[in-house]
Symmetry: C2
Subunit: 355 residues, 2 copies
């Protein structure tokens, strides 16, 4: 598989679905990747198995509040700066780039970095969606360190973190990103292909492309076209009547209230988010929670709406997609389930609930 300008556009659309509202609006990352592909040519995408077990992989993306990312635009040189710092530490070169999450800008920005580095992209990631914190990656469940992590801002100032555990990494990186101004580019959980095989959620770049193509297919019912590619559970259709959103401490947090339409008339839904959508409630009862992917789709086009793009009056569908299976183990639920975000409810997957 190769990422051309055409497939890049599909990947970007797919990333708004898989991101669960998070990972940032892909537009800027898409523009940077388009420019890179125009100049440098398509980017090869490889299944991890095609890499040599000893090859070094760079999982990378942006960290911080998506509300800030769209205004504090990357310089373009961050990927290079991060790679230089790592290659200096390891004394050898990376052989592939990988999105650490497959959502929003973070599904497409690594494509720009891969193009600039002349490296292939791994077909997969460490979340299978987007999550807000640095311990919310599959290698963390396997006891693998996020350190050394490297971040760079648009002034190409770099910081290298070596922490004793991934919760300290989250705390220290989050604070530095806030000091940078709210967002930064970063690499973390650097590892060999052999190590990455244990943690990878495979095929997510291809999946994003398929989802994007389904939405763009011009089908009369784009949600139906999407459902042919991924199990989708439509929970409601409605109109956004209130949005509460605040950017603080390197996150955007808030909620949206959605008044039902169609068969959901006279029902009120509440969506709560921390970068990503965490839970959707009706009359105080959870209809779906993390780690299932909860995405607001445009009522007509089925394009995903990122949390910072939710606006009063939008007509939307609230759709849930089953969590990648890596997150539904007890350790996975402890790390990214509803209680990890402060919700006192048990996780019950949408497949078990509605399937």
């Amino acid at each position: 598989m190769q990422i051309t300008i055409d497939s890049l556009r599909a990947v970007a659309i797919g990333c708004t679905i898989l991101g669960g509202g998070g990972g940032g609006d892909p537009r800027i990352g898409q523009m940077m990747a388009e420019e890179a592909i125009k100049v440098l040519g398509p980017v090869d995408v490889h299944p991890l198995e095609e890499l040599d077990p000893d090859d070094l992989i760079l999982p990378c993306g942006m960290i911080g509040a998506p509300t800030v990312m769209v205004e504090k635009i990357p310089n373009g040189g961050e990927g290079r700066a991060i790679r230089d710092v790592y290659e200096d530490i390891y004394g050898r070169e990376f052989k592939a780039v990988m999105p650490f999450e497959m959502g929003g800008i973070n599904g497409v920005l690594p494509i720009a970095w891969a193009a600039h580095a002349g490296l292939p992209l791994v077909d997969g990631d460490f979340m299978g969606r987007a999550f807000p914190e640095l311990q919310m990656l599959t290698p963390h469940l396997l006891g693998m360190p996020g350190s050394p992590a490297v971040i760079a801002d648009e002034r190409l100032q770099t910081i290298v973190f070596r922490t004793r555990d991934n919760l300290w990494l989250e705390k220290l990186v989050r604070n530095a990103v806030a000091t940078y101004g709210g967002s930064a580019c970063g690499g973390m959980y650097p590892m060999t292909a052999a190590e990455a095989r244990r943690a990878l959620i495979p095929g997510t770049v291809s999946l994003a492309e398929q989802l994007g193509r389904a939405i763009r297919s011009g089908a009369d019912d784009p949600l139906e076209a999407l459902s042919a590619q991924i199990p989708a559970f439509p929970l409601a259709a409605g109109k956004v009547v209130d949005v509460d959103r605040r950017t603080a401490g390197g996150f955007v947090r808030g909620s949206a209230v959605i008044e039902g339409i169609d068969q959901h008339r006279n029902q009120v839904f509440r969506l709560e988010f921390q970068n990503e959508n965490l839970v959707v409630l009706r009359d105080g009862e959870a209809l779906a929670t993390v780690p299932d992917i909860i995405t607001l789709l445009d009522y007509h086009t089925a394009h995903g709406i990122v949390t910072e793009g939710i606006k009063y009056g939008q007509r939307v569908r609230i759709v849930a997609f089953p969590s990648p299976r890596q997150w539904t183990s007890p350790a996975g639920i402890a790390t990214v389930g509803p209680r990890a975000f402060g919700y006192d409810v048990d996780y019950l997957g949408v497949e078990d609930r509605y399937g």
Copy 2:
């Protein structure tokens, strides 16, 4: 010159004078250095000229709020951890350790690190006193970078900063130190001996030892004994009647009110500090300001009192010592003069004012 346990004690006392209230209570650093000297033997102190011009120097110490440093005790391995990170970056070993400031704990802790590393200590530092911020070092005046700077906490978690200027370094390191819990060990402005010669304030380790010996000499008037070693300007004698001190953002800030005694009866003095004493006022008029060294001395013993040790009822002398000459240039005053700390007064050195 060698630092033995006896001379170490003198250096520690001298550091309470030169620190101008800052740099932290030397006791913990002194205990760590004593233990190291007991086990590993005395530490050689060399004038910088005795080192090879190409030798790499490690300027180091603690960063953060002195109020926290005395409770969040170093692990002892931080010096080694910092050295390892740097030597990995440079691919070669340091040849000498240097206190980045000659005040409080930071005048003595590097002695412990030098003992453990089997390295000599440079006789000098980059402040000639203590200052609270990372751009307040003489190499900054010469346009030399504080980067790469390395910090380590007592869990031996390390962070490496490479910033575009030293104000960004201060901002990012300060925030990381606050996230660590309020204090950390660090190295910054790493350079060769040849580079260090341009910036060094020489002889400050020897000076601290001489000041300490003068205070310990058992003279009837220890302040007079001190004055024989360094120009000293006693501004007042009094009793502490109020202390306001808060620890936030990696600093301790506050003020003390001192009611005059002896010939200063019926006068009220106010001392303001940010880690270090910044200005002493009488009826709103500045009697002395940074960069002159303003130190509270115990009324009877002339031992220096650190800002976090000021207590209600203490009988004290407020004494000012002329600033190291490196700070009295226009660039020096812009960096560490009263306006750099928000005081709308001009710097007028105590020698010009009272000499």
